[in-house]
């Protein structure tokens, strides 16, 4: 029996705003517990929320990027449940009139372009964190995260394979980074997932009972948890055993999921409109204003890179994968219009340097201008490939101008014909045996002579020119 999984995702994205959703506390990550708090995000008696306009703006931008309809009036609702990390014991969210509905995301799976529909996008506030110390009979609460703006993106169950889920998550992450909605740092919990999955006999129309999976904090845990769940449900389906509608909790360490609650025990959140926040009107002009700031999205950029710069699909894909890299590429090409040379250098030496140093381009001392000027020298044969790589390394170290490094190190390539001729003649003179071997047809001796010339030039002679002149000079012999 062939099994088809039916998968939908809920993505919680921490937004990249400076301040929290309903107060002016900082959203900085990693501060000591309870230092980024105020009466509002502590939920003290008497406080009132004031909506962070920047968060709404990012929400609208995301809706536009994901092709959603934007509600003219959007409203907040209270989601009521008791948990110590939720200071008010309700979360301000959007249940009835979310900011956007009915959108879609397109992404590539192999050669195919797939589309996942978006059910809705809504704004909400994050909860704090409970800290359990080993061996202690109490828990502590850190409310620094409480009130940080979250955007929840809810898809339709339109995915049917791990590859689709993986590509979708990557594409969505990229879009969110491209539009500046979120930094999407997994290790800081900027992206958290919930998945719902059911299985059915391939070809069946009807959906099986839906199982919700919680506590998925990385792409890897989403994929592992789904794989585990599809396997579990598939086995039950094959054995003719019932599958129950339930919520399961993924345990990363054990690589297993456990029943959290069954449908009958489903929590009643008693949603009702947040009376402290009047409905927000989202006017056409505001939407247009935000639309104008929307950057080119990754998939479109990839297509353009292929057409405009003649890159391969793979190359374009790698560049576009990171917005910063793709922008850097274009900046370099603007100054040094050699897209092939630039892409090779970015994908090769540059990425190697970044990986080794654990830096992003923005954090490094390399700028687009510096790389462009270095590559100009390579193109003009003013420096050898090998020395150019050393030069790049030094730019990463010191941030010095490439010309100065080349100058200082004496890496300027000798291209002057007369000078090379002089060195070629000297090498021929000093190595009569090699010349003899060449005349006998021994190819390796030719390489040896080239090496001798390079040595004489201290590596600065242009190897192409050396070869050319050596051939000519040997012909004379």
């Amino acid at each position: 029996m062939e099994i088809e999984p039916v998968i939908g995702l809920e993505i919680h994205t921490e937004l990249s705003t400076q301040s929290k959703m309903f107060c002016s506390c900082s959203t900085r990550f990693g501060s000591s517990p309870n230092t980024q708090v105020c009466p509002v995000c502590l939920g003290l008696p008497g406080v009132l929320p004031v909506v962070n306009e920047e968060a709404v703006r990012i929400g609208i931008k995301t809706c536009l990027a994901l092709n959603c309809k934007i509600n003219k009036y959007t409203r907040f609702d209270r989601k009521n449940y008791y948990y110590p990390d939720l200071p008010k014991n309700y979360q301000i969210s959007q249940q009835y009139i979310p900011i956007g509905v009915d959108g879609w995301v397109e992404f590539e799976v192999g050669e195919e372009v797939k589309r996942v529909r978006i059910h809705n996008i809504h704004l909400e506030e994050d909860a704090g964190k409970n800290v359990h110390e080993e061996g202690k009979n109490f828990s502590l609460v850190d409310l620094n995260r409480a009130g940080i703006p979250l955007l929840e993106i809810v898809t339709y169950p339109d995915m049917h394979s791990m590859e689709e889920v993986n590509s979708f998550m990557n594409e969505l992450r990229n879009i969110l980074i491209y539009i500046g909605a979120s930094n999407c740092k997994m290790e800081e919990g900027h992206l958290r997932f919930e998945a719902n999955v059911s299985v059915r006999r391939k070809g069946d129309e009807e959906l099986g009972p839906k199982v919700e999976m919680k506590n998925l904090n990385s792409f890897r845990s989403v994929l592992q948890a789904l794989e585990y769940e599809i396997e579990r449900q598939g086995a039950r389906l094959r054995r003719g055993e019932p599958i129950y509608q339930e919520t399961r909790l993924w345990n990363e360490e054990k690589g297993e999921s456990f029943t959290m609650r069954f449908k009958e025990e489903a929590q009643d959140y008693r949603y009702f409109p947040e009376p402290d926040i009047p409905p927000l009107e989202i006017g056409k002009t505001w939407i247009e204003e935000i639309k104008a700031t929307l950057p080119e999205l990754p998939l479109k950029k990839k297509k353009r890179f292929i057409e405009e710069y003649g890159l391969s699909k793979k190359e374009a894909g790698i560049l576009v994968e990171e917005k910063e890299i793709s922008c850097f590429f274009e900046e370099v090409v603007k100054i040094c219009p050699q897209p092939r040379l630039v892409v090779n250098w970015i994908m090769g030496p540059l990425m190697r340097e970044l990986n080794e140093r654990g830096l992003t381009i923005g954090e490094s001392k390399l700028t687009a201008t510096k790389l462009a000027r270095l590559l100009e020298m390579v193109k003009e044969n003013l420096i050898t490939q090998t020395n150019a790589k050393y030069c790049l390394h030094e730019i990463f170290d010191s941030g010095e101008e490439p010309e100065r490094i080349v100058e200082k190190r004496g890496w300027k390539q000798v291209t002057d014909v007369e000078e090379i001729e002089k060195m070629v003649r000297e090498a021929i003179q000093k190595n009569p045996r090699a010349v003899e071997d060449i005349n006998k047809g021994k190819k390796t001796a030719f390489g040896f002579l080239i090496g001798q010339v390079m040595k004489l030039s201290q590596g600065k002679a242009n190897p192409g020119k050396v070869r050319e002149i050596l051939e000519r000079e040997l012909g004379k012999c």
Binding site: G43, P45, G46, L48, N80, N89, R270, F272, P278
Partner: protein, 491 residues
Amino acid sequence: MSKLSFLPAHVLSEKVRKGELSFSDITTEVIAQLEAKDKSINAYISRRLEAALEEAKSLDESLAKGEDLPSLAGIPLAVKDNICTRGFLTTCASKILYNFVPPYNATVVEKIKKEKMIIIGKTNMDEFAMGSSTENSYFGTTHNPWDYQRVPGGSSGGSTAAVAAGEAIMALGSDTGGSIRQPASFCSVTGLKPTYGRVSRYGLVAFASSLDQIGPIARDVQDAYLLLKIIGGYDPCDSTSLPLPLPEEQLTGKVKGKILGLPKEYLSEGIDPKVKEIVEKAIKVWEEMGCVIKEITLPHTKYSVATYYIVAPCEASSNLARYDGVQYGFRNPEYTITGQNPVIDMMEETRDQGFGSEVKRRIMLGTFTLSHGYFEAYYLKAQKVRTLIKEDFEKAFQSCDFIVTPVSPTPPFKIGEKVSDPLKMYLSDIFTIPVNLAGLPAISIPGGFTEQNLPVGVQIIGKPLDEYGILNLGFAFQEATDFHKRTPHGN
């Protein structure tokens, strides 16, 4: 009899400016009155008498130096204990907040401080403002200064009793379904509930967010107006506050030609005949001034109590969810672990012991009506009825300028008389509740007394934002009567 503490603020301020009195004189008198009476009345939960006197002295020095002081500087003020005061106990008359000291001031308190008014203390109330008698307090019942056997009304009963007894010159209250107006009526003081959004709610411990409004309690209409102008205005910390300027016109008492609407539904059955008589007399007074009296209809008014008891508990059940013993306030230290989650056990036992029975009743009501399967039938329906009630008023105000009604169907009732019958208690707010549901401004002014010398107030309801209009109509009545000048005997 300490006359001084029974004078209105505007008179006291003038006397100080004329050099007839000092700020210290006023505060000293008010404190003396408080110390003499509050053992019997129990208007205050906490007091700051020494600090108040210090502030008064320092203001006297400022005045002596010729410094310019705001018009209500040095006036002793009582603040209802559900309004947050930085560094000073704010309990909401609840065990669950018996030790809560806010790290911040409510916006109105910031404004009071800027005006250099002197806070005497925090006043008693029904727990979390849920009640009409100030009997539901963890800190004991407040007694009506006019008759200690009777309730002062509620939930701002501590504030109105303090003003009536001369234990404060002015006070702040909050009004969710009549909580300023009804106790103002029971204590014969002037109580104003402003238009929803006029006064910032930031720092007012929420009961029902869409209904709550802070308002002034005072000896007369002039004082209520002065205090409104200080506490009111737009506040960026409250998204429901109105970005509109406050009224500035002088009170003139000129009301000739104004049309007073009398809802036929309001003066029918269920009203104490004496209350009816007093309201009718008041209407006569205005009629003699040239006001036009007109019968109007508010047909959906009969649903207002039912509507209120869905909307308010729904919001309250969520607003009060935060009192769980985790971060602040009371925590039951010896909870029993019954289930898998000891934290939930702690929360449950804390809330069980921390809340009084009326609060629990309303939390349960609200939790039930918001539950899956009931939300549409109750909450959404109530919202629809609320719109109809609002529309009733809009229609009525097309043909009249003000609506005049009783405040409460009865004069102050006896302590304990209604505690065992919550429904009866709820129904006593029939005239005040529709005003909150519609978000309108309304005032209770002293309207007269029964044979037993029990106060009865008259309610004037205005169009949205027309605080000036209702105050001016009240002012006209005040100019023709002296009820607002009477003080409880024995004081």
